[in-house]
Amino acid sequence: MSAHIRPARARTYAIPAVVLLLLLLAPAVIRNEYYLHVLVGVLFSAYLASAWNIVCGYTGQLSLGHAALCGIGGYISTLLFINIGLSPWVGMFLGASCATAAGVFVGYPCFRLRGPYFALTTIAFAEILRIWVDNTEEVFGVELRGAQGIMVPLKGQSPWLFQFTSKVPYYYIIIAMLLVVMAVTFWMERSRMGFYLKAIRADQDAAEALGINSTRYLLTAMALSSFLTALGGSFYAQYFRYINPERNMGLDLSIEVALMGIVGGQGTVLGPVLGAFLLTPAGEISRGFLGGKLMGLHLVIYGLVLVLAVLFLPKGLIQPIRQFFRRDSGGAQGPPGTAGRQDTRAPAA
């Protein structure tokens, strides 16, 4: 039994390890900055989708407002940098703390209810915030510059200020951030919290009867997800050195993030990453080749992919891959002899 599992597990871990190795070596091979830029975009999407997955994938709640958290992170780290010269390395954690507070504020009333309230409230919250920033030139003497957005002042090569003249450091930073969020997900899934979240997702009444305070666990997941999402927002601001409400807080970004999680496979460590690796280039390519002629075609493609995924692979693209490898789960690994022929699990890794 275990003899059959071990090679399969080794193989499953081997593929992400090889992909990671290739990614780490990529800057040495890729000389064209544009391709590196696309890769940063993919990794950034994978990061956001993974952070989204912590609350939405594991609890079954749908957030369509994660862009707002991303925007809060980007705006706060940038405004602190411009106005009081605080390094974005520090500012990003303050931004993330604010986003956590916002996430909990939005989650608290919704998680006490059953039904689609959370999804609706997250959309409303994100749109209100976007519209407010869009139309606010300054607040308490701090310039927000409304829809024009904010430029991050250029300081040249200065690692302490999160600014680099080359794209390569950003590339490695986002890889590190992605690895952190994946590690957090991996750890969470195997902990009591992961089990509790999955129980809540499957049946909230039954979970509560087993002693799980569902509101508390949902809020914890939301707080964690908000914090990580906002860190991503700060990264985005530093990388592009420009943020505006449309791109950083817009519904488009929220939907894209949710889509990558759903298409790739919610409630798994690798699913959202897979979703980002497939959907981001698809969007980039269709925009690049057809954008001028057929505006919005990439959105049609996104829509089609979503429809196909929901119809044929409701558990995400990761599902058939996982079945192929019969990967072992975060929860219950079969001790030799207990599973036997009835080992039909398709675990939630």
Binding site: S191, F195, A332
Partner: protein
């Protein structure tokens, strides 16, 4: 001292008085069966005790502590566990993972939760099904799984809501045997059940509800001959005087 004391519980939904002035006590180690026709208020009584609805009035004491109106998870942490009439497995988790959710109740460590879960699965006879996803189980096995999940929280009081409903006679006999073994392990049991053979065979005492009102309590044999009970179940014209 009584383990559970229910005193004057009332619960209405709009104009419907689901439970009216329900009082009973449960001694440690006892099995109390609640029976009654459909809509008698049995499940409502359960939900009130388990914290799913607060009662309109009345008090519930467990080990002397007033637990009226506590939320389900607080009730659970006071060592009361319940099953559901329509079983609610965590369908996309394996049987073992389902039980581990209960096993995490008293300890944060995954290894400890798993040990507890394996021990419970052994006890209920589901060890060979540990790695099946719960939604692939038969209806009876789902009930058994729910029972296992409850046991993993190490309860002192177990509320069983129709655990043999829909079971074949052989499965029902297995379940009765399991319930006896649970009771022998020191767990007090309050059960709602429709299958008379099971209630009568297991319960030390039976409480009969009809339209939310307690119409009889006592030993199973005595209750089954009570004319009020027969009237509630069968209708007045079927109760022949002198031939209950």
């Amino acid at each position: 001292m009584a383990l559970l004391e229910v005193q004057g519980i009332n619960k209405a939904f709009g104009g419907l008085q689901a439970v009216k002035d329900l009082s009973f006590t449960l001694m440690p180690g006892e099995i109390l069966g609640i029976i009654g026709p459909n809509g008698a208020g049995k499940t409502t009584a359960f939900n009130v005790i388990a914290g799913f609805f607060p009662p309109d009035s009345g008090t519930i004491r467990f080990k002397g502590e007033n637990i009226t109106g506590l939320r389900p998870w607080d009730i659970s942490h006071r060592k009361i566990a319940r099953t559901f009439q329509l079983s609610k497995p965590f369908g996309d988790l394996s049987v073992l993972e389902n039980v581990m959710v209960g096993g995490f109740h008293h300890q944060g460590s995954r290894a400890a939760a798993r040990r507890k879960a394996e021990e419970v699965l052994q006890f209920v006879g589901m060890a060979h099904q540990a790695f099946i996803e719960a939604h692939n189980l038969t209806a009876t096995d789902r009930k058994r799984l729910e029972l296992a999940r409850c046991l993993a929280t190490a309860p002192d009081l177990l509320l069983l809501d129709e655990v043999v409903a829909g079971a074949t006679p052989a499965e029902a006999a297995d379940m009765m045997d399991l319930i006896r073994r649970i009771r022998d392990g020191g767990v007090t049991i309050l059960m709602v059940e429709h299958v008379m053979r099971v209630v009568m065979g297991l319960s030390h005492r039976v409480l009969v509800l009809h339209h939310g009102v307690t119409i009889a309590t006592g030993e199973p044999r005595a209750v089954s001959r009570d004319p009020t009970v027969l009237k509630a179940y069968l209708g007045v014209q079927h109760v022949q005087p002198g031939n209950p």
